[in-house]
Every structure is written in structure tokens, then in C-alpha cells.
Amino acid sequence: MRDELTGNRIIRDEMTPLERFSLLLIDEQPDRVLTVPLVTAHAATAAGLRPGDCVRDGALMARAQIEAQELYGHDAYTLFSDVGILAEAMGSTYHHAPDAIPILDRPVVRDLADLARLRVPELSAGRLPVYLEATEILHRSRGDRIPVFCFVPAPFTTAAALRGVEDFLVDTITDPDLADQLLLAAERAAVPLLDELVLRGALPVLVDPLASASVASPATYRRYALPGTKRLIDRLHRLDLDVTLHVCGEVAPILEDLAATGADLLSFDQVPIAAARESIGDRVRLVGNVSPQILLRGDREEIRAVTAAAVREGTRNPKGFVLSTGCELPIRTAKESVLAFMEAAQRGPAAMEGRPPGDRAGSPAASCRICERREDSERQYYRECPHDHPGSGPRIPNDEGRPAQ
């Protein structure tokens, strides 16, 4: 686009991550793909801190996130790796080591008597204050520019951490009542934490790694995990919040169930993006799913190629897409690898595949009004936008695949 009077090229301003995210949520196209690798505890490494220290100190946890974001330039803070926070606040004990995130040591529920003693934890219990403080600091310091995603374990994952994963899975078969009561306690425990996080400016992400098909059967997911997760999401929807659900591991057999929770964004792991798009992409914004193993072990070229492919597939999702990793980054992921991932995300697939910017090879020959408007933005790859997204207006293909003038 050129200024009619001066002929100067008009350059749009780059959006902030929060602006990008806000547009995505209203079915609009941001200036580039929203990129949120699950940095979580790796943030500590990126900031030269120890994860074990960060999970005990809200200020450190926030500092790790801020420094990691400044280093990588990703589009949201992600607090944090530790899916046992509610169970720990309810009495399960965790082993803490300086260089690792806490590991479940002794589940609190051994028998029915233990179950009867379970209470909704105060917000001062366990390490909940650490999360609340970190959220508050991030929102206060950068919450006008960067979304603060806070991970809260979904009921199934908390129940497993209250009882021990194996025992809980056995309960689902041998003692469904006990399993139901555990789930209910876990669900109730999540409510005040979610409410308080919202009040501190967080955008809630429900995480349910232990409910994936790698751990539990699809039938178990439907019977035990889905209802409580759905109720929590319904509750957040009453506040008109957009909720992300993250389930890592194998999720192909439960994709429809994950969509049935009502989650607005689904962060998923081991399913090809195209398959997720085909099955639920008309209802849910997809968040994924470059394998963290690629970032851990792959070389720069491989990371860039895989990331570019994910962008290519993901940006075709009708409800929108957030480029992410399928699961959280391993703590020891090299910084250069994360930077290669970010570079691929920001330059777009065409550039990554060695084609000139704006080249649409492999894309439907189409443009949309938003792509046309973005032509000046120097982020050329949205000219590949193949979406039939609302607001895209009439498509005006021409020979070069460029918007008609």
C-alpha cells in the first residue's frame, strides 16, 4: 500500500502479543501467527535460574518468564510446568530438587478416611501463593502487552495426583464411586484458584496431561475426565472467558471429546495438525504442536522446517491457530533451538522453504481482504492466507497470486 500523496510505502505497526491474541479470539487475522511455545519451566533455564527455585518463589518465577520472553520474543507467558499444585495444596507431598520441577512423592489419599478429610485448599495453602504472586507481577509489569497464561490442573490430573496415578486408574475400574469423589474434590479445589487467577489478570489454561490416551483409555476420558473439565470450562464461560485446554501425549482417539469440553483453544500433542483440523478445526482454535523432542534434539534446519510446516498446516485451520509446542519445552532445550523455532514462526513458511516472500506455492491461489491490507506489513507470508475466515471478504485471485490492485 502506498501513500497517495507522497508515494511512500505505508508500514503498519507490529502488534503486541496481546493484540495478536485478542484478534485471534474474535476470528480476526493478526499480523503474524501467534507463537506460544510452552516455555514453562524452561524459562528458568533461559533466565539462568533453577526451576526448583522458581517453583517456590513467585518473584523468581515471574522473572524467569520475563527474561525468557525477552530472549525469545514469544507471544505469552506460560506459568508453569507443575501440574501438582492443587494436589500439593491439598496434602500430597512432592519431592523438590533444585534443578527439576517437583515430583509426586506421597499422594494424600490412601483410603476413604483420607478422602473424607480432603478440603478445598485455602489460597494460602502449598505453593498457590507462589503462582498468584507470579501472575500478579507479570500482569502488573507487562500485562498490557503480553497475555499471562496460567496453567491449572484439570480435575482428572489433580485426582491422579491426590491418589497416585496407578491407584487412581485402578479406582476408575474397581471403585468408580471413590474415583468420582476424588474428581469432585479436585474440581472444587480448582474453582477458587481459577477465580483468583482471573482476578489477577491471568488467562486460564486447564492442563490434563494424565487424561491423555497415553495414560487412560478414551472411555475413561469420557466417563471421568470430560465432565469435570467441562463444568470448569462452563463456569469460566459464564465470565465469557476464552479457555485453553492442554492435553499432551496421545490425543487422536479423544479429539472429539476434547472439543466436547467446550474449550475455545485446544493445545494438543501427538496428532498431525491436518487431522485435528479436519476433525475439530471448525469448532476449536488449534494450539500446537511441534514436538519438544525436535527442539531438544533437532538441528536448526530441522527445527525450522518442522516449524514452517506446522505454520503452513495450522494457519489453514478455520477457527484459527496458535503455533506452539506439543508439550512443554524440556528444561535443557538449547536456547538456539527455541530461537530457530521463533525465527521460523516469524518469517513464515515461504521464507523458511527458500521461496521468495509472498510466493504461494502449494497454497490455494487466493487472497483475502485482510491479506491485501497486510501486503505492506513486511510479513509477507500472510499473503498465503488460505482461510475462509470471517471478514476476509471476496477473494480476488490473479495470475501472480497477488491481490488485484
Binding site: M1, D3, L5, T6, I10, R12, D13, E14, M15, T16, L18, E19, R20, S22, L23, I26, D27, E28, P30, D31, H139, R140, G143, D144, R145, P147, V148, D195, V198, L199, R200, G201, A202, L203, R235, R238, L239, D240, L241, R373, D376, P390, G391
Partner: protein, 477 residues
């Protein structure tokens, strides 16, 4: 008399979850599109925090859902514009006219309007300089008022969709607004400029100009009304071409009639707020009511429903003698009330109530007369402050102070504001001389996280103290 308490954001969140979910879910904007999942907008302030509206954490709110609905309607306006575009409506920006063009524009079918200028609320509501930094990079720095925030919104295209058209009033307007309009134009926005003539005051040296007097209004040049009407009729032609739809006389009459009724509702709310022994609506909510007069937040039908609810609430409270604060709160008249709700809340917390306001949207608050709709719009616009002299504006303010029995006047300017800043000394002098009430003027500090500046707090406290002391002196003398 009994006092109501404002509630904090956490309390609103809890209470909101106790509201009937079906009732909440039934509240939609753009109802002509049918209820859509996206058009639900009624939510507590906490729902906006994660999306950057950080100031909301520090505020205190009217505890009634009818007032909250207004708040959420306003905060949802940005999304509403994108949804309008997605639903096939045309999106038109209006700049610098305040209340004149919007009722005319809404006569076009499938259109919505917004004021980019009102983006000056955003840095305060978000406690953020993102938009101001962008404006600075485009050459509009601290010597332009915070209305420059609109530049950052134009250039990022993250706050509203690219408008189908922006109709910007220039001429007798503010040069800060003109600067913003220019940057929007340079950024490729499709603009239409309306050259607004100045309303002059009679002066001995204006021998060639004939002036006329109209009851209750400042004198003006003969023919000015007709000139404005011509401009607006021309607007219909040009906008019709730009939007690809002509407009009919019936639709114009219908749209102006709707705004006439809307302004009548707003006028009644304002009167009750000024006259009830206890203030029946907090200052921020009342300001939001006033801003509705300009463009009905882009959805006149829903805006009317909301304002009817607020009017009902204010009437109920007035009849029952229920309200905020105390009967002996200091009665303040606020010139250029700032777009910082924390400042409003602070003023009320320190024992004052706002009984009247005057600012550049005043022309949108003027009642619309019956008869020729275009003339009625033009007539109301001619009463505004922006196109007239500072002396005429001072007269309006003095009249407002007398009418509302205000005990003190606060003039707050945004840093860098040229028009408002330049008028302050003139207004101050007129108020002190003619209304005989004390004046406090200050610049509104740059938006920043945290409480408002201690300097402003101290000056306000001292000012209110002086007014109370004055009361004592008046009583003894």
C-alpha cells in the same frame, strides 16, 4: 436517606456468578442479527483484565447489574466493530464532530459508527503506553494530547477493522484531532473531511457579519445553520457514494428521532444525578452515559435498552432517597473530565460528587428539536464548545455551575492538549469572576500502573478542604 457502597472487582465477579445465567446469556448487541454466540457482552469487569484492561482492578463500581451492563457494553466496543464487519456491516469512523454526524450516519442501512478519538480512554484503562509510543513513532509526541492514542490504533489495525470510511470534521475543531486525522489519512485510511465553520462571537470590528440571537444559545452569524445543513446534506451524498448506498429521507428522520429519544433519556439521568440529595450514579458510570450521546457506542438499539435500565435505576434510587456518598459531599462541576475512571473514583472517595460536566462532547448532549432532522442536528451542534470561542464556552460553563449549584470547579487537561489547555485560563477567569466559585486546574498525569499521582491527590484534597472551610465561613457570615 441511605448510602450505597460501590463494590470492588472481586465482589462483582462473585455476584455476577450468582446472576441468572439465562438472563446474562440473553443480553446481546446487534440484535438485528439474531442472537449470536459472539454478540453476548454482559460480563463482570474482571473478564477484561486478562485482555489488558488493568485499571479495572483498582476501580470501585456501581453494584447494580443495570449499571454494569453499560460498563461491559462500552468495554466491548472494539470487538463489536470487528463483529460488525464480519457480519457484513459497514464500519465508519467519525472524528471531531461529537454527536452531529453519528445520527445522520446511522440512517444508512447496515452501518455502525465509532469515534477513533475516544481511544484516549485506552491508555488509562489499560495503564499502558503502547498506543502512545506508536503515535510518537509517527511524529505525535507529548506535545499532542492523549487523543493521539488513536494513531496507534489506526496503524496497528488491532483495535478496529479498517474503516470503510472515516468522516473527520476539520476547520473549527481541535488541531490535535486534525493531526491525528492526518496520520490516519497518511496510513491509507479512506477519509472524508467536513470543513466545519467557526461560530463567531459578535464584535464591533465584524461589521460585515450579521449576527442573530437564539433564546438560550450563544449568538451566531446569520446563515451558519444553513451552512451546516448544506455540509450535512453533502455528507449524505459523499457517504452514500463511499458506502455504495443512498439514504432515504425516512431513514434520516427515523435515525434522528432515535437519537432525540436517546438524548432525552440521558438528559433525565443527568438531571437526577445533579439534583438528588444523594448521588444516584457514580461519576464514571454517568460519564459513560454521557458518551453514549455521541454515537450510542455503535449500536443505538441496544444502547437505548441499556440507558432505559440505567434511567429506571436512577429514578428508583432518587425516589427512595438512596445513593452514593453523603449529603454534604462537595458539589463539583468538572470541565474536561478525564478518561481516567480512577480519578473519578478518587474524587468521590474524597468526599465530592460530580454534579455537572462540560467538555467537547457537550453538543451531543443538547436536546434535538422536532422538525427537519438535518436542521435539528445542525442546531444542536451549533451549541457546542468546539466550534466556538473560549469566551462562549466559559459562558456555558458559568451557566452550568449556577444551574447545578456547584461549589467548586475542576478543570483537568490531558498533557499536551492544545485546545483544552489554551482555554483553561480563560475559563478559570470567567468562572472566578462570574460564578464566584473556586477553581482547581491540573494536568492529568500520563497513564501508569498504580494509584493516581500523589501530587494530584494532594491538590484535590486541599481544594476540597478549602471548599468545606468556605462553607463554614459562608454559614457564619
Amino acid at each position: 436517606m441511605s448510602a450505597l457502597e460501590r463494590i470492588d472487582i472481586g465482589t462483582w465477579q462473585r455476584r455476577f456468578l450468582d446472576l441468572d445465567p439465562d438472563e446474562v446469556a440473553g443480553v446481546h448487541y446487534f440484535r438485528h442479527l439474531g442472537p449470536r454466540a459472539f454478540s453476548r457482552y454482559f460480563k463482570p469487569p474482571s473478564s477484561f483484565l486478562g485482555y489488558g484492561f488493568r485499571r479495572l482492578r483498582r476501580l470501585h463500581y456501581d453494584p447494580d447489574p443495570r449499571a454494569l451492563r453499560l460498563f461491559s457494553f462500552m468495554l466491548e466496543e472494539g470487538e463489536r466493530l470487528f463483529r460488525a464487519r464480519q457480519s457484513g456491516m459497514r464500519v465508519v469512523g467519525l472524528m471531531g464532530d461529537y454527536g452531529a454526524v453519528a445520527p445522520l450516519l446511522f440512517a444508512f442501512p447496515d452501518v455502525t459508527a465509532f469515534y477513533p478519538d475516544f481511544c484516549y480512554w485506552t491508555p488509562f484503562l489499560t495503564e499502558s503506553e503502547v498506543l502512545l509510543e506508536r503515535a510518537e513513532r509517527r511524529g505525535l509526541g507529548a506535545d499532542t494530547c492523549y487523543v493521539r492514542a488513536a494513531v496507534g490504533a489506526f496503524t496497528s489495525q488491532a483495535y478496529w477493522p479498517e474503516p470503510d470510511l472515516v468522516a473527520a470534521s476539520t476547520g473549527a475543531s481541535c488541531d490535535d484531532l486534525a493531526a491525528v486525522a492526518q496520520v490516519a489519512f497518511d496510513a491509507g485510511t479512506k477519509m472524508m473531511f467536513l470543513e466545519i465553520p467557526q461560530r463567531k462571537d459578535p464584535a464591533p470590528w465584524l461589521t460585515a457579519t450579521r449576527f442573530i440571537s437564539v433564546a438560550g444559545q450563544a449568538p451566531r452569524q446569520a446563515g451558519l445553520l444553513e451552512r451546516l445543513c448544506e455540509i450535512y446534506r453533502d455528507f449524505f451524498d459523499r457517504a452514500g457514494t463511499a458506502l455504495g448506498t443512498p439514504v432515504t429521507e425516512d431513514r434520516v428522520a427515523g435515525s434522528v428521532a432515535r437519537f432525540r429519544e436517546l438524548r432525552a433519556v440521558i438528559a433525565e439521568i443527568r438531571t437526577l444525578v445533579a439534583t438528588a440529595p444523594l448521588c444516584p450514579l457514580p461519576a464514571t458510570e454517568e460519564l459513560l452515559v454521557q458518551f453514549a450521546s455521541t454515537h450510542a457506542y455503535g449500536d443505538p438499539a441496544e444502547c437505548r435498552r441499556i440507558l432505559d435500565g440505567v434511567l429506571e435505576l436512577v429514578r428508583e434510587r432518587s425516589e427512595r432517597g438512596v445513593g452514593f456518598g453523603r449529603e454534604d459531599d462537595v458539589r463539583l462541576y468538572w470541565v474536561n473530565p478525564p478518561p481516567d475512571p480512577l480519578l473519578h473514583v478518587h474524587v468521590e472517595r474524597t468526599g465530592a460528587r460530580v454534579v455537572g460536566t462540560e467538555y467537547l462532547i457537550a453538543s451531543a448532549l443538547t436536546p434535538l428539536s422536532e422538525g427537519d432532522p438535518v436542521k435539528s442536528i445542525a442546531r444542536a451542534f451549533l451549541t457546542g464548545s468546539l466550534l466556538g470561542s473560549s469566551a462562549a464556552r466559559s459562558e456555558t460553563i458559568v451557566a452550568g455551575i449556577r444551574e447545578t449549584k456547584a461549589e467548586g470547579v475542576v478543570i483537568s487537561n490531558l498533557f499536551g492538549s492544545s485546545h483544552c489547555g489554551a482555554e483553561t485560563p480563560v475559563i478559570r477567569r470567567a468562572v472566578e469572576e462570574k460564578a464566584g466559585v473556586p477553581v482547581l486546574s491540573f494536568d492529568v498525569p500520563k497513564p501508569a500502573p498504580g494509584e493516581i499521582s500523589s501530587q494530584v491527590q494532594n491538590r484535590l484534597a486541599a481544594f476540597l478542604e478549602a471548599i468545606r472551610a468556605r462553607r463554614g465561613r459562608c454559614a457564619t457570615s
